[in-house]
């Protein structure tokens, strides 16, 4: 009797697994097909049944893109934006998160904390227009500054570091460090920073990937095609060279590779960053 029940349960679980497997194909097929089409000729892409395995036309497709735009340029541009922004954002957030986690009785602490949490519910579109005008007034339009400097203050980053530091750095450590005569921010730089390295890594991956994918603000700020970041450049390419699908797919694939490499190396940290907001 119990054996039969177990068996039924097993069959049910197997069925569920197969259904999920089919569902998961829907989620990866677009990515897989992008990669396959990038290696095929224009004729092969329009055939039926569509190709399911890689072809040998990747070099020609690459030459086709290269003829119309420098394929590594947008990747370089995205790196120029994403790397300094990430380093700065993580440092600024860690500092503020440390201040908020440690000095809970400093005057003004509560207000700053509440405001920081409140920013999480602020739609960024509220600031879009004045932000553009501000960048115009500063003469920063069509430069990378608007994508880097204002982004250093991230409510999400501060909340994330505040929570992380609060849960990983024991209060006694501050007292011990103070006994040793630490002054100002030296505790942060010499004691706290080395401890919170996993948290810094998680916030970094998360910031790098979301910066890589940013579209609206670069669209508003950048006008010179040679300065376009990956999503902007690809959007333009896909409208101007719409007919050459394999070439566009290859360019798309190239724009995705850096993110996938990063994810492959640091998926654990990325996932930690995803759940950070929900666990309070």
């Amino acid at each position: 009797m119990i054996g039969m029940f177990r068996n039924r349960e097993k069959r049910f679980n197997l069925l569920i697994t197969l259904v999920l497997l089919a569902l998961s194909i829907f989620f990866i097929l677009p990515l897989y097909w992008t990669a396959v089409f990038a290696t095929r000729t224009l004729n092969e892409v329009f055939q039926f049944p569509p190709p399911l395995w890689f072809g040998d036309n990747i070099v020609q497709n690459y030459k086709n893109i290269e003829a119309v735009f420098p394929p590594f340029r947008p990747i370089l541009n995205s790196l120029i934006v994403a790397v300094p922004k990430t380093l700065g954002l993580v440092l600024v957030s860690a500092l503020a998160g440390y201040g908020l986690a440690r000095y809970t009785r400093a005057p003004g602490h509560k207000m700053i904390l509440v405001v920081t949490f409140a920013t999480l519910f602020f739609p960024p579109s509220l600031a879009l227009i004045p932000f553009f005008l501000q960048m115009n007034a500063l003469g920063w339009l069509n430069t990378y500054w608007p994508l880097i400097i204002p982004a250093l203050a991230s409510g999400f980053g501060v909340v994330w570091m505040y929570t992380y530091i609060g849960s990983t750095v024991p209060k006694e450590l501050y007292e011990a460090s103070e006994m040793d005569g630490a002054k100002g921010l030296s505790t942060f730089f010499f004691v706290v920073l080395p401890i919170i390295r996993p948290g810094l890594a998680a916030l970094s991956v998360w910031t790098l990937i979301s910066t890589w994918n940013d579209f609206q603000i670069p669209l508003v700020v950048l006008s010179d095609g040679s300065k376009f970041t990956v999503p902007l450049a690809l959007t333009t390419l896909s409208t101007t060279h719409y007919s050459d699908m394999p070439a566009v797919m290859l360019a798309t694939l190239m724009g995705l590779v850096p993110v996938f490499i990063l994810f492959g190396l640091l998926s654990r940290q990325f996932i930690a960053g995803l759940t950070a907001g929900s666990v309070k």
Binding site: L14, G99, T275
Partner: protein, 305 residues
């Protein structure tokens, strides 16, 4: 006494001076590039301004004008459609997948944990490019497939269709975002102690009852978080419809969202006042829905406790 209080505060501030040093970089950038623009946008909303001539005070005219504009009205409807369906379907699908992967999957658990996340790495704009390719009228893979199945070649213009463009945006959101909510729900599921399930099973409680009476109530905070996040994104949706319709909003503005309306008003028609007014409408919608969710959550919690 007042001066004594102030003196104490001053003393504390001096003692905790490192606090101010630590939060200063964040606060400075935040004040200059976030607080100031938001306040300025409030001012802009009451003015007519093209960015060149002097701003002209018009009171609530921008707010009234937006409401009278048929394109704005259409954008409200479109945004509600996309926000509602993308939020409901994404959260629901993620919930089902998370529970199934967590409790019922026979093999390949780590595969399932990873695979739904991959679309999240793809920029919404890039995902829209890929979707455009698949749904293009001439030789798009979807038309190829449907043509092969029906026997006659199909050249249906999915992206130009008023009926299909919104569901396509929703499909794009589902594809890209479901993985995130799965991760959030899985984290919440993992924090539920296993012996609760064991005990319930011992007592002969069925699968559905376990899910609806134990799992679901314990997942409520995570569901609320997911719904609020999806709503924040849904009400401001821009990248997906913008790239899918190549910035045009689709046939007869059938995919123009509030975010796109704001963008076009400000950056193509250079009407910064009207655009700012629209951004405050979006803000109001976010605030109202967040409050509604919180009230709903409180009521649900009261009902299950």
């Amino acid at each position: 006494m007042a001066s004594g209080h102030a003196g104490k505060t001053l003393h504390r501030m001096r003692r905790d001076n490192a606090f101010y040093l630590a939060v200063a970089p964040f606060l400075l950038v935040f004040l200059v590039f976030s607080v100031f623009p938001v306040i300025f946008s409030l001012y802009l909303g009451f003015n007519r301004w093209d960015g060149f001539s002097d701003p002209q005070w018009v009171g609530f005219e921008n707010y009234a004008r937006a409401l009278r504009d048929p394109v704005f009205q259409k954008a409200i409807g479109n945004t509600i459609f996309m926000w509602f369906w993308s939020t409901v379907l994404t959260v629901l699908l993620a919930l089902v997948i998370a529970v199934l992967v967590n409790d019922y999957v026979a093999f390949g658990k780590s595969y399932f944990r990873m695979v739904f996340l991959l679309p999240l790495l793809v920029a919404p704009a890039i995902a829209a490019i890929v979707l455009r390719m698949f749904f293009s009228a001439n030789g798009g893979i979807v038309n190829l497939l449907s043509g092969a199945m029906s026997g006659t070649p199909s050249y249906f213009d999915w992206l130009g269709s008023e009926a299909w463009i919104k569901p396509l945006v929703v499909l794009l959101v589902i594809w890209r975002w479901t993985g995130w909510y799965i991760i959030i729900f899985m984290a919440a599921l993992q924090s539920i102690p296993r012996d609760i399930y064991e005990a319930a099973r011992m007592d002969g409680v069925g699968r559905w009852a376990i899910f609806s009476r134990i799992t679901l109530p314990l997942l409520l905070p995570a569901i609320a978080f997911a719904t609020i996040t999806a709503t924040l994104g849904g009400l401001q949706m821009f990248d997906e419809p913008y790239v899918l319709t190549q910035g045009m909003g689709g046939t007869n503005n059938s995919a123009t969202t509030l975010g796109m309306y704001l963008f076009a008003t400000a950056f193509t028609r250079l009407n910064f006042g009207l655009g700012s007014a629209v951004s405050w409408y979006i803000f109001a919608a976010v605030v109202i829905l967040t409050l509604v969710y919180q009230a709903g959550l409180k009521r649900l919690r009261g009902a299950t406790a």
